[in-house]
């Protein structure tokens, strides 16, 4: 359909000025498919769903226990680094560094935790298929918190408050077996992180106004953001991968960011992630999944390893994206403007040498780059309504 719509007015009897008498909406008009694409990015927030793989998901005592653990540096081997040391609430639970630095430097940018419960794969390479396994990973990584299963279990056993909170969450005091206690700690951490959600954004207000035919409400969306949105769902086709209410398809792509992690070292991305998630004792096919039906394990059961996965990284959500700089798996792009410029000037030869053929350089003007940045900034909630808020 080539007929163009001027905002939502055209959705109601083809009027440019709505029945409310609002001023004509500034900015570009949208085609009917573009309107559908915009509506597909909501509604927000989504309804709560507990995680069947985690028996304490959504349990208030476990959420509180998890929050306590999240902020407890004793879980690291030297007692100096907590989860919250790198996942800072004002930065949408990122750290502002190009690459994370726990006990030592790592190769990847710290991912945010807001809306993390809605992911299918975790980490830049998807090496975990559930949030509790992903929560266990940094506790055991020598570059991050440097512990092991015995250390994690011992911290909980040795502290009266943690021991009581554990008993309250799991119905019995921590046992003498390290592994189940450490996995339970990870499940409490997951229960807390499931509550971290981004709030309503200027884009959500516009999207919902569009949905209900509210010209006046839609007109409040700034014109630059509106023009950027038109690029996002139009010329840029950004929504091919950044789709749905979370602005991600939850999968993995190569977007031309170098995968050299350092001299002589490469980050294989999803290629290694598939191998690791299949091999993990803590995946959803393993013995610690609390979902006895294993219906939660469908993706893990069927995930394919492909040569093209080399150098692919997870498509991140764009919600709260203005707070999560720097960007990309290696933190190599400092600002949203740098990100948009990257897509504008892609090296096509590098991209299509051996892989999927999706991206084309957008060749954006400076004004278009400004507009796309304005749109991306409209995907962040106000600070008062930001990711520190609880979804439950």
């Amino acid at each position: 359909m080539n007929r163009r719509y001027s905002g939502l007015a055209a959705l109601v009897a083809g009027l440019v000025v709505g029945a409310t008498g609002a001023e004509p909406v500034a900015g570009p008009s949208f085609t009917a498919p573009e309107v559908r694409a915009i509506l597909a990015h909501g509604p927000w927030p989504p309804p709560w769903q507990s995680d069947p793989s985690n028996r304490v998901s959504g349990q208030p005592a476990s959420i509180a226990f998890g929050e306590r653990l999240f902020n407890d540096p004793r879980l690291s081997r030297p007692g100096t680094i907590a989860c919250a040391s790198c996942h800072l609430p004002p930065r949408s639970f990122t750290d502002g560094l190009p690459r994370a630095h726990g006990l030592a430097a790592t190769d990847r940018n710290t991912l945010g935790l807001a809306n993390v419960r809605r992911q299918r794969w975790f980490g830049w390479d998807g090496a975990n298929d559930n949030l509790w396994a992903q929560s266990l990973r940094p506790l055991l990584d020598p570059r991050e918190m440097g512990g092991d299963l015995a250390h994690v279990a011992a911290v909980v056993r040795a502290d009266a408050d943690l021991r009581e909170r554990y008993r309250e969450s799991f119905g019995a005091p921590p046992s003498a077996a390290d592994e189940p206690v450490a996995v339970d700690v990870a499940k409490a951490l997951a229960a807390y992180q499931e509550t971290l959600a981004t709030g309503r954004t200027p884009f959500d207000e516009f999207r919902d106004a569009l949905a209900r035919g509210d010209d006046r409400g839609a007109a409040r969306y700034p014109a630059p953001a509106r023009r950027g949105l038109a690029l996002f769902v139009g010329k840029g086709r950004c929504n091919v991968c950044h789709l749905g209410p979370d602005f991600t398809n939850g999968e993995f792509h190569d977007i031309g960011i170098p995968f050299f992690a350092g001299p002589g070292r490469v980050d294989a991305g999803r290629h290694e992630g598939v191998r690791r998630v299949r091999a993990s004792r803590y995946n959803l096919l393993g013995p610690f999944n609390d979902d006895s039906t294993r219906q939660t394990a469908t993706a893990t059961r069927h995930v394919a390893a492909e040569h093209r996965n080399f150098g692919e990284f997870r498509v991140p959500s764009l919600r709260d994206v203005a707070r999560t700089a720097p960007y990309m798996h290696n933190g190599s792009l400092a600002t949203l403007r740098d990100v948009v410029r990257h897509y504008s000037e892609l090296d096509e030869e590098r991209l299509h040498a051996d892989g999927e053929q999706i991206l084309r350089p957008l060749r954006l003007t400076d004004a278009e780059i400004d507009d796309l940045v304005a749109f991306l900034e409209s995907l962040s909630a106000s600070q008062a309504n930001s990711s520190t808020s609880r979804s439950r």
Binding site: T248, H302, V303, I358
Partner: protein, 144 residues
């Protein structure tokens, strides 16, 4: 695969608001009439495959299954097995998942573990293992 087996049945597909509308199989056909919901079809001179997505409608980035019925035509032998896959020809990639297919008897199958991870044109590929060789039937799906 012989020359005839290379025949591709591309389904024209209509897309409505938030809904994938496959060109419906002729309701009067016996093949796949027990399938629920909107169905699609792939066919050649010797076989017809009718399929229905579960859950429906399809959504980009969401795992789904297919219920399938395979119906031989003109005296063709029943297939020994069925494999299901999908590709996105314009993007030169397939799915990120490898479906499994389980026979449910009387020419019906269930395929689990499919995902179209982006909108656009997808080709569903059905490989029928028959006594005469493997035949590929194709159905095109346009996902908004």
């Amino acid at each position: 695969m012989d020359a005839r087996a290379r025949q591709v049945n591309a389904f024209p597909v209509a897309v409505a608001v938030g809904t994938l509308l496959l060109v419906a199989a002729d309701a009067s056909r016996a093949c796949g009439e027990a399938l629920r919901g909107t169905t699609g079809r792939a066919e050649n001179a010797r076989y017809e495959i009718v399929f229905a997505a579960v859950p429906a409608p399809l959504a980009a980035g969401k795992l789904f299954s297919l219920d399938l019925a395979v119906c031989p035509r003109g005296g063709a032998a029943a297939p020994n097995a069925l494999a299901v896959d999908a590709t996105m020809p314009e993007h030169r990639h397939g799915m990120n998942y490898r479906p499994t297919v389980v026979a449910r008897g009387t020419g019906t199958y269930r395929a689990d573990g499919l995902m179209f991870h982006m909108p656009g044109r997808w080709d569903l590929l059905f490989d029928l293992v028959t006594p005469a060789g493997t035949e590929r039937l194709t159905a095109t799906v346009l996902l908004e």
